[in-house]
Amino acid sequence: MQQPNRLRPFFENITFDREDNEMIVNFGPQHPSAHGQLRLILHLQQEQIVKAHPDVGYLHRGMEKMGENMIYNEFMPTTDRMDYIASSSNNYGFALAVEKLIDVTVPRRAQVIRMMLLEINRLISHLFWLATTALDIGAMTVFLYAFREREYLMDIIEDYCGARLTHAAIRIGGVPLDIPDNFIPDLKDFLDKLPANIKDYEDLLDTNRIWLMRMENVGIISEEMALSWGCSGPMLRASNVAWDIRKEEPYELYDEVEFEVPYSDKCDNYARYKIYMQEMRESAKILYQTIDMYAETVKNNETELMAHAPQYISAPKLELMTQNYSLMQHFVLVTQGMRPPVGEVYVATESPKGELGFYINSQGGPYPYRLKLRAPSFWHTGILTDLLPGHYIPDVVSIIGTTNIVFGEVDR
């Protein structure tokens, strides 16, 4: 066997042929098909993989420790940098955890806006997944089409919060801004075109021979394996488990909207691809319903965007301008930070990648005593150890693609 730390070309290695012919290949950390900074150490028997070892940590920033040295509001832009494809869903997960801790209820209008942002982020993330995976396997057209659609959505998000990738669009206790005037017409325009666009992608890919060879019966994750490795989200749903946190433990207004949880018993890459496409349709369905809900809040004249909890959350601008005591409280909250009660909380949300959980242990101080981020991609990287052996090198790319791992989230 070769020594991993002293790699020599195999033709120079005399003992290589004489012994077990096992070659070690480093896949990454800058392989164009690997997602970000993934380093895979692959043990090869000819072209077949006998052992795979994902080596993570090349993008580690120590976010959990950063969070323990920041006040709660200050940490919000840092969560953007976790899953940077769909940053509002991370913002939301953290905000929801802190809201559970301090026990505030968010106004309905803010909830509707949050749901819109979450579903737009899900669409962005799934379109990005489709684009990059198709490009990895060699379909340039789908990449360009999907990126074009993603660009429309990014423009809509930019109209809302002013940033394209790192939104910081959600605050603890609500949202900072109301949606602009052209937001809903733009969104409706996009959603009307979306079914035709998804059909375009499916027409291009569903019967494509190269796509089918890399997708069908490749990367099979059985139900038991998926559960034991802690998979969640589309990975779990492709393995015949209809588990969606939006349905099982509804947060926000997800119990008021109608949508289905697509799942499949095929367990392979193709099933995962199908589930991503189906989820985009479901997201569009939810977005249509949230548009109606927003119109309802406008009709009922519910204009509040931030929760009312003067001990934890700054008062709205109008109150700051008129009442001296609110202004003083605002300064205290900004300079010293809110002090949630002693306690611990774990909140899981369904991010586009899977179960995104935030665990906060508060000792009553302005900083969290312990902050743990449960990112779905981390567990989906771990399963590669079990999943890759037995497959061939060209399939590695498609398997990594369908796991949809993002390294901002794995390393944190």
């Binding site: 919000m76 832009p77 840092t78 919060c161 910081a168 801004l177 900004v334 300079t335």
Partner: protein
């Protein structure tokens, strides 16, 4: 037939007349320009109350406070754009009225597209407070101080007068009692 020909000629002439979108300079005209685009900060030194909130909330410590030669409201934020992550928290916490005195939304974006920065110092949003403003503020403070002093003197004089009157009253009261 002739109609078709005329239509074609019209279409071609129209196409020749319009400017190609490829010739447009994206540094000045973005494809999509949002009103809320978080760009370069604009700082209004006249409305800023120097409360230090933006400096405190900044998660990357991109803001430093510039000292001005007044006694009150004497600090103004300055932003290092090389460090700034454009999260918008400083704008969020600014309490001034009626407009926020540190604003990112709708700011300049051409530091991203390039062109105007030559060295590191250009990545700073500096506040150039004109001498006339400093002078007027100092004068105002001086006037306020003088007014306050005068007021204090006046008050003191009034108090002394009152004390005297009270003394006189104390002396006069028994007299009146005697008269009655």
């Amino acid at each position: 037939m002739i109609l078709e020909f005329i239509e074609k000629v019209y279409r071609v002439s129209k196409a020749l007349g319009t400017k190609s979108p490829a010739t447009e300079d994206v540094r000045e005209h973005l494809m999509h320009k949002s009103e809320r685009l978080r760009g370069e900060h604009r700082i209004d030194y006249e409305t800023c109350i120097g409360c230090d909130a933006c400096n405190k909330i900044c998660p990357v410590s991109a803001i430093t406070m510039k000292q001005l030669p007044f006694k009150k409201q004497n600090i103004v934020p300055e932003v290092n754009l090389g460090v700034c992550i454009f999260c918008g928290l400083c704008e969020d916490v600014c309490p001034t009225k009626p407009e926020k005195s540190i604003v990112l939304s709708g700011g300049r974006y051409d530091m991203i597209t390039g062109g105007w920065h030559q060295d590191q110092a250009d990545f700073w949003v500096n506040v150039d407070v004109p001498q006339s403003y400093i002078d007027s503020r100092l004068e105002e403070e001086e006037a306020a101080r003088v007014k306050k002093e005068l007021l204090a003197k006046k008050k003191a004089a009034e108090a002394a007068l009152k004390a005297k009157e009270a003394e006189v009253a104390d002396q006069t009261v028994p007299e009146t009692e005697e008269k009655s």
